[in-house]
């Protein structure tokens, strides 16, 4: 399976996740977001950039609990509010949608 981004073919897996992290660009993210029916604004980008930075350091997407805490801290809000905020931005779950847009692979196992 693949994505067409401005004439370039980008390979994705059956669930639509990028096969190679290096294929990621803002344009690719835009296209992935479009497929998820998400219109990216600054807040979305902030989350996506956080995920990419986290992945650079830790080689896996953050646990939802870790992500929620980080976003709460960043925006100086309660964790419950941060969770609502994340779900408003990514209605099908920040773990799935935001990670996909950020180009991260989907973790597999007892999750």
């Amino acid at each position: 399976m693949s994505l067409d981004v401005n004439g370039t073919t980008i390979e994705v897996d059956e669930n639509g996740y990028l096969l190679s992290l290096e294929d990621w660009s803002e344009e690719v993210a835009g296209k992935l977001a479009e497929d998820e029916e998400i219109e990216m604004n600054d807040q979305h980008w902030e989350i996506v950039n956080f995920l990419r930075d986290y992945y650079q350091e830790f080689q896996i997407a953050p646990a939802v609990k870790v992500l929620t805490k980080a976003i709460a801290k960043k925006n100086d809000i309660h964790k419950k509010e941060a969770s609502v905020f994340l779900y408003e931005l990514f209605p099908n779950g920040p773990g799935l949608q935001a990670c996909k847009i950020a180009g991260l692979p989907k973790p597999t196992g007892c999750v």
């Binding site: 080689q59 896996i60 646990a63 939802v64 609990k65 805490k69 419950k80 973790p107 196992g109 999750v111």
Partner: protein, 552 residues
Amino acid sequence: MSTNPPKIAELKAEYENAPSLLKGDSSAKEWLDIPVEFRDGNWCHAAKPEVIENLGFNNPRKWSPDDPDWQLEEGWQQIVLAGMKERLGQFRSFKLFMDICVRCGACSDKCHFFLGTGDPKNMPVVRAELLRSVYRHEFTWSGKLLKGLVGARPLTEEVLKEWFMYFHQCTECRRCSVFCPFGIDTAEVTLVGRELLNLAGANINWITKPVSDCSRTGNHLGIEPHTFKSVVESLVEDIEDQTGITVNPTFNRKGAEILFITPSGDVFGDPGIYTMMGYLMLFEHIGLDYTLSTYASEGGNFGYFTSNQTAKKLNAKMYHEAERLGVKWILGGECGHMWRVVHQYMDTMNGPADFMEEPVSPITGTKFRNATSTKMVHIAEFTADLIHQNKLKLDPRRNDHLKTTFHDSCNIARGMGMMEEPRYVLRNVCNSFNEMPEHTIREETFCCGSGSGLNTDEYMDIRMRGGFPRANAVKHVKDKFDVNALVAICAIDRASLPPLMNYWNPGVQVYGLHELVGNALVMDGEEERSEDLREDDMLEIETESPVQEDDA
């Protein structure tokens, strides 16, 4: 492909309108003549080629189970049949289970996948027959001579597809085995079936990827050592925020008395991560001399869902790490299939672990004689003993916002026979515990529908059907006792029961046992708590707990 399962109303209409064995309708066709049909939602994605290469398995390629051509290797039948022959020689149980079934049918309506789909090939007897038919054809005189007359058939691509479909519609839960008058363990038939599928290069990604990641990092999720440490440290911070207590876990510490190993889902997944907080709080409270390992960072063993060899390989790190760190014994967390491997295989696969001692609780002095050979103790036994010996201060009212029921994890109940200990702990940490009906619990427990490495999103259709008997039993206690908390001691349960509950019983949340222990545990010097570990409000506790008064 769509990963959304049909709506409940659609399932109901399907059941009412189409003929089903569940209603006593029988098909005009023999099961052998019904071809396997791959449709959205009834198959798992194929293993990615790089995963298969990493594992050194046969025939890495890009393919999909719904492709008409599976791109099997030249001579794949010979490879599979040689594999079958080898296993018949190696495992007497397998040979016995191929020979002794009399097709009495006692198992036929005991399988959650049969009850959820009505598919005759999900009757355990027929599922095993998919393999027996080939066994007879190749390895028995009657089959060689009389062929179809004795239910024998050659191994064809169609047969392989059928194996792929139905050995992945068995969660190796062994409920059927409880009812077999011959003691046939159908899980072992599925285990061999999956080994043979692996030889043919017909593997699924949701199982092989964790096996590959675990081989590389020590855990299924592929959590690197620094990440593992960072997540646990984040939980330490959360515990401090909520209780004012600083817990002090250590990592890879040589000379610790005990090595604690739990599924990696507990340091990553929601809600397992709250169970992890519970463990950390408990260990701090009792002053346990323990260490976590960033290498033996997985209790689970998806190798067990792949082959005997991969199970052995992934299991080996437990003893390796215990020996390297010089611990006296191993304490194991809330996991399902890990305990079948530990309880029934580890000692002979990777033991004897003579470098360790017979486990003794450093807090109570209790000897865990049942773990004399494996040197590994289940956390529910360990905690039950602490409670029994009065070593914990517990305020069960802190779980009064929860009306609980308990899901026996298949591998804990049937794989190691542990029924009472988790119930004893649960009764002591909450005031409302309501059993699901007889025949759906303990050794007759119904599977979550997603065990044995099938908890992947694209399989949601089959998972929701297969999980129906379990969900239906939960519905019973939800309707009768307002149950809103399903407690389970398995990481696959904690991952797979939330979508099952959202589908069949919205409003029921899934909890780990030690999350509830963490809620109820009154730690020395802690701050007053009004929220549980997932930061949901507790019910107001009107009078000060007598335990807390003593403490103050």
